[in-house]
Symmetry: C2
Subunit: 184 residues, 2 copies
């Protein structure tokens, strides 16, 4: 979990705020804040329920990735399986199990929490909780109605090459690989 | 740079779209799309100009981090220096030089591009371009009017411990550390 901290020389204090847009996915807020020097400014940001992401490690050491269209970027992308928390209050490991199962069909015996990350602290409050899943067994993929997802396993060497060549550029996936590396 | 790709079994095709909210920082879009099975759905997302982030490496190997209030998360955070591209069209290395200088006061002789990352492909098109900066010399910090930033150098061991303890949880920073590791 992340450890928040306060620093009187840097803190920004909320004066007032309003909801700007409440969409299906995006909730935009605009707050007036007091800066550390006493002046005022505005902060626009997105409220997000939070998410989980999973590095699924096969018994032979290969990593299972999913590929899906990421419409905002107009491309198909390779990523680790992930999904939003239901209303932000769901148990993290339950959510990780569900997303792994839905997107890849895999179920895992061993779960390990790696770390949590802030994806875009400048403009959203999204936190993604990262897990490692081992002891995998294959079942049927069962995605949401508007989700279309391909599944493939890669060696670590292949994944590192994909990152270096710009073919795997998803931030949460790269963070999870780094957390696995430093928590070996 | 990232390599976009297309896959006819996964692609989502734009039918129509509209601007939902055009703020100081956030630009919200809502597009109607055709899914791979021919059905239709809606995609809400944030247009972002893109950004750069820099790992500043001192001659003794320590890494320079900045701490600043991240209002959406209601916390002060440790991160590598970073900043948005002006209108998305600025030269990447020029932007990296400016942000490093503004936020930390350091100027660097040696620059190396590491990789680019998509921070939140599910709901924005933000791409952050990551650089390593070496051959650092200290000058005066000169932040924007509403920016308050602390600066401190850490060893790799300290940084890895901070990640493991949840004290450094910024995605772009962790991605940059991983890229440095695999591109050594």
């Amino acid at each position: 979990m992340i450890k928040k901290f306060s620093d009187k020389d840097l803190d920004e204090i909320r004066i007032s705020g309003k909801d700007i847009y409440d969409g299906c996915l995006l909730h935009v807020m605009k707050d007036r804040v007091k800066l550390p020097d006493g002046k005022e400014s505005e902060r626009e940001f997105i409220r997000h329920p939070g998410a989980v992401a999973v590095v699924p490690v096969l018994d032979d050491g290969r990593i299972v990735l999913v590929k899906q269209c990421r419409y905002p970027l107009n491309t198909v992308m390779w990523e680790i399986p992930a999904g939003k928390l239901d209303h932000g209050a769901e148990n993290l490991e339950d959510c990780a199990r569900r997303e792994l199962s839905e997107e890849t069909g895999y179920e895992a015996k061993e779960w390990r929490f790696l770390c949590s990350i802030a994806t875009t602290p400048g403009f959203s409050d999204e936190i993604i909780h990262l897990f490692e899943a081992k002891g995998l067994t294959a079942h049927a993929q069962h995605t949401d109605e508007d989700e279309f997802i391909g599944v493939q396993a890669f060696t670590w060497e292949e994944i590192n090459n994909m990152i270096c060549r710009g073919e795997l550029f998803d931030a949460k996936s790269i963070c999870a690989f780094h957390a696995l590396e430093i928590k070996k």
